[in-house]
């Protein structure tokens, strides 16, 4: 262990010397963010390394328009909302789903399969599935759409806001003033998409992309690997999580997603519209498409709250630089979504980010 930590320190030092400045590594995924904080890595690494928390939590990047629309549907008597737990607390412009749960038609789902069950049990209601998440949760949504199609289920409607990681990385890198030197890529997502998915990023932008699992030692290895590539000016795709992540990923999952969804331009809270970044149901499945069937009008809109989530997600500021951090915005009363999910950058900073003081 000590050996691996020392290796990381050595590579970080090499990288800072090679670049002649601080190294900025973005962990795309919120699970990494939390794991880094929890293991105390943020304080343990030398000053020359800066870790940026990226947009890797589906809750954090869900915009007001989407939440508002879900709330509108929740207010309708003919609908039952099926959602994953974290979503119920995300504030839209008119509050959050949690504030409407007393009506009893908002059901927290533990898995996509339960949504199908809910639809069968409530034939007289329209079941609206709040389908969020990255490549990791999209296959499960695709499976239930497929099954609903085969079983001729008529009352299931998917309101898809599934997002893709690669277009987001691209968008971050095309920001002119981005300060990202490399990406620590998420284990879960990469199990599905495969490490080769990052190849175009490395080729086009010359930024190292290293896949790591969520164990602290893997994160340390990943950071060492990134710094080595930076020091040697040899950016590449690699994985320190080889047992779980293959080059090509999970073909079965990819296939079912391809069968059910098309990539479309989509809105990301804080980041704006990103081309080909959101999964929408194919025309073949349009009878399950909430947006087409339920007469809803989802207007994405820039956040009006003064929340600086966008800058946090791009790695431009740390959460404490937002004026609302810990004053108006806390996990009990989140203003922006980054404070809602336990993996949101602001929530992680709130919980773990306080610097320690010295012993007497």
């Amino acid at each position: 262990m000590l050996e691996r930590i020392n290796r990381a320190y050595k590579q970080i030092a090499r990288a800072t010397t090679a670049l002649g400045r601080r190294v900025n590594i973005m962990e795309v995924c919120g699970t990494h963010t939390v794991s880094i904080f929890r293991a105390g890595l943020r304080d343990a690494f030398p000053e020359g390394l800066k870790l940026l928390s990226g947009p890797g939590c589906p809750v954090c990047i869900t915009d007001h328009g989407y939440i508002d629309t879900v709330i509108e549907l929740a207010d309708r008597d003919d609908c039952i909302i099926a959602t994953y737990g974290d979503m119920i607390r995300v504030p839209g412009r008119k509050g959050s789903l949690e504030q409407r749960t007393s009506k009893g038609n908002i059901k927290v789902m533990l898995s996509a399969e339960d949504v199908l069950k809910l639809a069968k049990e409530n034939p007289a209601k329209k079941i609206v599935f709040v389908a969020v998440g990255f490549e990791t949760t999209a296959p499960a949504t695709a499976v239930i759409v497929n099954e609903a199609h085969q079983q001729n289920i008529k009352n299931l409607f998917v309101f898809s806001n599934h997002k893709l990681v690669i277009p987001a990385i691209r968008a971050l890198l095309s920001e002119v003033n981005n300060n990202i030197d490399a990406f620590l890529c998420p284990g879960h997502v990469s199990v599905i998409i495969g490490s080769d998915a990052y190849k175009p990023i490395v080729e086009e932008y010359k930024k190292p992309c290293v896949v790591a699992g969520f164990e602290p030692m893997q994160i340390i290895d990943g950071i060492a690997e990134i710094c080595k590539q930076l020091a040697d000016a040899a950016p590449a795709v690699s994985s320190v999580y080889p047992a779980a992540v293959s080059k090509h990923g999970n073909k079965t999952a990819q296939k079912i997603v391809d069968e059910v969804f098309d990539a479309a331009d989509g809105y990301w809270r804080g980041l704006g519209v990103i081309k080909q970044s959101t999964l929408k149901l194919k025309d073949k499945f349009s009878s399950f498409d909430a947006e087409k069937q339920l007469n809803i009008n989802c207007i994405p809109e820039e956040d009006l709250t003064g929340c600086r989530c966008g800058e946090v997600l791009c790695g431009l500021i740390d959460p404490p630089q937002c004026a609302m951090f810990t004053s108006q915005c806390t996990p009990d009363k989140p203003v922006g979504p980054c404070m809602v999910s336990s993996e949101g950058a602001c929530a992680a900073w709130f919980k773990y980010g306080r610097r320690r003081r010295h012993r007497q």
Binding site: M1, I5, G30, T31, V34, F37, R38, A39, G40, L41, R42, D43, A44, C57, P58, V59, Y84, G85, D86, M87, I88, R89, L110, S111, D114, V132, G133, F134, T136, T137, H188, F214, P216, M217, I220, T330, P331, D332, S341, S342, E343, F350, K351, Y352, R354, R355, R356, R357, H358, R359, Q360
Partner: protein, 337 residues
């Protein structure tokens, strides 16, 4: 009575109430005091101070791996007394039952209560039963109160804690919270994790008997977990606390579940554990006593009280780094993926 359901009439105070109480409750754990069904129980005590506590239990699901709402409601109250340095002697139990609840299920829960109080050598001496309309409560709520006699050697309090004192936990952390959570999440390793729902009375009594005022403070880390307990100690005493992740006992299945759902073990509820602050010189002895007790075999010394310029709890992580352990805030929700 198999197949029978709780009806509103079971709460009406008439014959059906009487039958329910006699057939389901008294038959499970009646005793000469309770059987009188008087309005209040008369108890005889000696010179000791009396400790008194009460708690409501609304756990979902009612049955979980390692326990059920009945056992939980007894152990919870016993533990509140035990960590205050009192020997539990008598409990009360109040039931709020939703109309339609299966009597057979109630019977199972009452049998579990009976088993637990027998093991713990306490009596339920008074109680109350209410039935509410369907929808007005979620199946079954239990409130238990308890009184205990303060052990003469118990001298505990925040003010007795000082720098250098050691922190002991009586076993693996997070088991109850993760059992309940993974049950709700429908996770596969559900069966491998077991709630620690149980009593710490034996541990508390034995260590106080042997170590007296060397035991500075005890608390059962229920909601908010170890993180909340240690933060409270730190805040109340103005000392810092330093704990070492490598020494904190955690069951591997509980750890796996917590990792999967994105929870921090230190924040997770326990229902059969005690956190002990003990003077450094006697810490090893205390640990040995814990280990000999039925519910203390995994006990460990996990850290110490230190002087810092600010009352904070710090964790030395597995990889040797340090981070602050905050008071848990808000309701924790499992992550999406």
């Amino acid at each position: 009575m198999s197949g029978e359901k709780i009806l509103l009439a079971h709460g009406g105070g008439g014959r059906m109430t009487d039958e329910l109480i006699r057939n389901v409750i008294l038959s499970a754990f009646g005793n000469s005091t309770l059987n009188k069904l008087t309005d209040s129980a008369e108890l005889q005590t000696n010179q000791n101070n009396i400790c008194f506590t009460t708690d409501g239990f609304v756990v979902k699901p009612l049955f979980f791996n390692g326990g059920d709402i009945g056992k939980l409601s007894i152990c919870g109250t016993i533990n509140d007394l035990a960590v205050s340095g009192a020997k539990p002697i008598a409990l009360s139990m109040s039931l709020i039952i939703e109309e339609g609840f299966e009597i057979e299920v109630l019977r199972q829960i009452m049998n579990s209560v009976a088993k637990t109080i027998k093991e713990e050598n306490v009596k339920i001496v008074c109680g109350d039963t209410k039935v509410v309309e369907a929808g007005a409560a979620d199946k079954l709520f239990i409130t238990t109160s308890g009184i205990g006699l303060k052990l003469p050697k118990a001298k505990m309090g925040f003010e007795r804690i000082s720098a250098g004192d050691k922190i002991i936990v009586s076993g693996t952390l997070g088991d109850h919270g993760m059992t309940i959570m993974s049950h709700r999440e429908g996770m596969k390793f559900e069966t491998e994790i077991q709630s620690d729902c149980g009593s710490v009375a034996e541990i508390c009594e034995k260590i106080i008997d042997s170590l007296g005022e060397n035991i500075k403070f005890m608390r059962d880390p229920t909601r908010g977990g170890l993180a909340a307990t240690l933060n409270e100690i730190s805040n109340q005493t103005n000392y810092g606390i330093e704990i070492d992740e490598n020494t904190i006992p955690v069951h591997p299945s509980t750890r796996a579940a917590a990792d999967m759902l994105g929870f921090d073990i230190l924040d997770i509820a326990n229902e059969g554990k005690v956190v002990i602050v003990i003077s450094a010189e006697r810490a090893d002895e205390c640990l040995q006593i814990c280990k000999q007790c039925k519910n203390g075999k995994d006990a460990a010394i996990i850290g110490q009280v230190i002087k810092t310029d600010e009352p904070i709890v710090e964790l030395i992580t597995k990889i040797g780094a340090r981070r602050i352990v905050q008071m848990p805030s808000g309701r924790e929700l499992p992550r999406i993926c």
